[in-house]
Symmetry: C2
């Protein structure tokens, strides 16, 4: 099978066919028709073997996650996903691997009606770069710079499960089998909060998706909005399974662990009623408040300041020339 047959076989046969795609895969570029009344939101994320996943990673989950992390970025802007491109570098055209990878990727693509319209394949160390496009009405986008003093800080779903699983896989934790199943699902097949992001248009002041850890990602909002925050450990939503293993891993894993792909957003007190009326498929929980003073103040269960040792993920922090 040569490169072109491979692309035809695995990528041209995809489940979504949108009316706004004039030309999809197969020419020098895709030809697309964005809606006239909306802005185009564009994002990309890379997954690299040995950095974002282990060599024995299940290809079906990888296909899911590579697309999910990009849809999560669109969700964090309040954008509706439409199209994506896949740049796939892999050591060999392993047909079973490709079949599983596509299964995971295309199942999620079908769920969110997002069409693969192009990309590139090459031989080389496994590297998956996806770029996703979505639409959002002008002025409705949930940018990071919108947080105001007095806003309530919310997160969707629960935090920490994925980070515990990363520690388990790195050999730093010993979790029971039951926890492994739940946590690996959270780490390997995150659910992008696309519907929630769209619902939060005109309600939230700003949003971000939690990929590098709550503290790091909330920190981005604070920095761009030039404000600070106070958050409360006992309000941070964690799963029962996660709570029962916090003794081993500690709150730092929840605060700084990342890979949650939940949304963190802020809402002014005047919009709380509108927020409560939203029908989310997941819970959302107020974890604190935006304050004028820069920085994040974490309060523990007894109301005392808690000082995290870790602050979030950074690919280049350890070793820089």
């Amino acid at each position: 099978m040569n490169e072109f047959e491979l692309i035809r076989t695995y990528f041209a046969r995809q489940p979504v066919s949108r009316a706004d795609v004039a030309e999809g895969i197969g020419d020098d570029a895709a030809l697309l028709r964005p809606p006239h009344d909306q802005q185009l939101a564009v994002t990309s994320d890379v997954l690299v073997l040995g950095v974002h996943f282990f060599p024995d990673a299940d290809p079906e989950s990888l296909g899911h996650k590579a697309l999910a992390v990009n849809l999560s970025d669109l969700a964090a802007m309040g954008a509706e996903p439409a199209w994506f491109l896949l740049n796939l570098t892999l050591p060999e055209a392993d047909t079973l691997w490709l079949e599983m990878f596509c299964r995971g990727m295309f199942r999620l693509a079908r769920e969110f009606n997002v069409q693969l319209v192009g990309g590139d394949t090459s031989r080389g160390p496994l590297n998956i770069a996806i770029e996703a496009h979505g639409f959002v009405p002008p002025a409705a986008a949930l940018r990071r710079c919108g947080a105001k003093t007095g806003d309530r800080i919310y997160v969707t779903g629960t935090l920490g499960d994925a980070a515990l699983m990363v520690k388990q896989r790195a050999g730093k934790l010993q979790l029971p089998l039951l926890a492994l199943a739940a946590f690996s699902e959270r780490l390997d097949r995150p659910t992008p909060r696309v519907r929630e992001g769209i619902a939060l248009r005109n309600i939230a002041h700003c949003a971000i998706d939690i990929s590098d850890g709550l503290l790091a990602d909330l920190g981005h909002i604070l920095e761009r909005s030039q404000v600070g925050a106070r958050i409360f450990l006992d309000r941070i939503p964690v799963s029962e399974t996660c709570r029962s293993h916090l003794g081993q891993a500690g709150w730092d894993t929840v605060l700084a662990g990342g890979d949650d792909y939940e949304l963190c957003f802020t809402v002014s007190p005047g919009k709380l009623e509108a927020l409560e009326k939203l029908q989310f498929s997941c819970r959302f929980q107020c974890i604190g408040e935006i304050e004028r003073e820069p920085g994040i103040r974490v309060m523990d269960e007894s109301g005392k300041p808690y000082h995290p040792r870790e602050t979030g993920h950074d690919h280049f922090a350890e070793k820089t020339k």
Copy 2:
């Protein structure tokens, strides 16, 4: 320097600032305003260490080429470049390397007024994936499927220089110093034929950029257009330096070598006059004609059929499970 400082330092300080970018680098996604009356052309291309370039490749040239190959794809659609995203995986945040890489990339970006609006960075084996966006009026795009029997086949510039340089670097040729300088410029810093692609709207029936070799890329046009072609070796434009080394490398290097990033396009006899009036910054040359019979017939200088041994580049042809 951490990941965020690195991005701020090297990628946020970029030379182009377009009015159609509502939000560039720094949020979960870029927010863009495509023009109402045009289609959006989107393409991506990956450069991988050890596949597309050697470990000692000059980072400034790499920065140029990574963007150039994408602009070349837009050119082949007749699209006007606007924005791009950069997904960069590199072993370490080497500041000198990044500075040179950005210099090459941003010089070209400035030349074509194309703005970096997002991307992702990660640690890992060197891998550069760029995705470029451009605009083209509806029905004006130069698609691969438009060639008709009787069309003349043209190429811009000259072919073969880059392919000879690849052979030299692989140790298969011994070129004199003077040739090396000229050929490495062609291989490492190709000129995307953006202005030519735009000028060919409403004149050419179809176009493709020659990245995998003339035979392979013309082959894509023929396949999509369901036609064939006859081309003539003595009409294929080659530089004087290339011609003087054809004895060593042979015509196959010119026909199948790739990396030219010239445009191959077809024009109906009725449009030849309009074509001749175009002001190109490079020459363009008729190399043959579209025929009904499928396949490519190459004729040598004496009018006899020439049978190439190579047919073009394929990343996965050698080793597939």
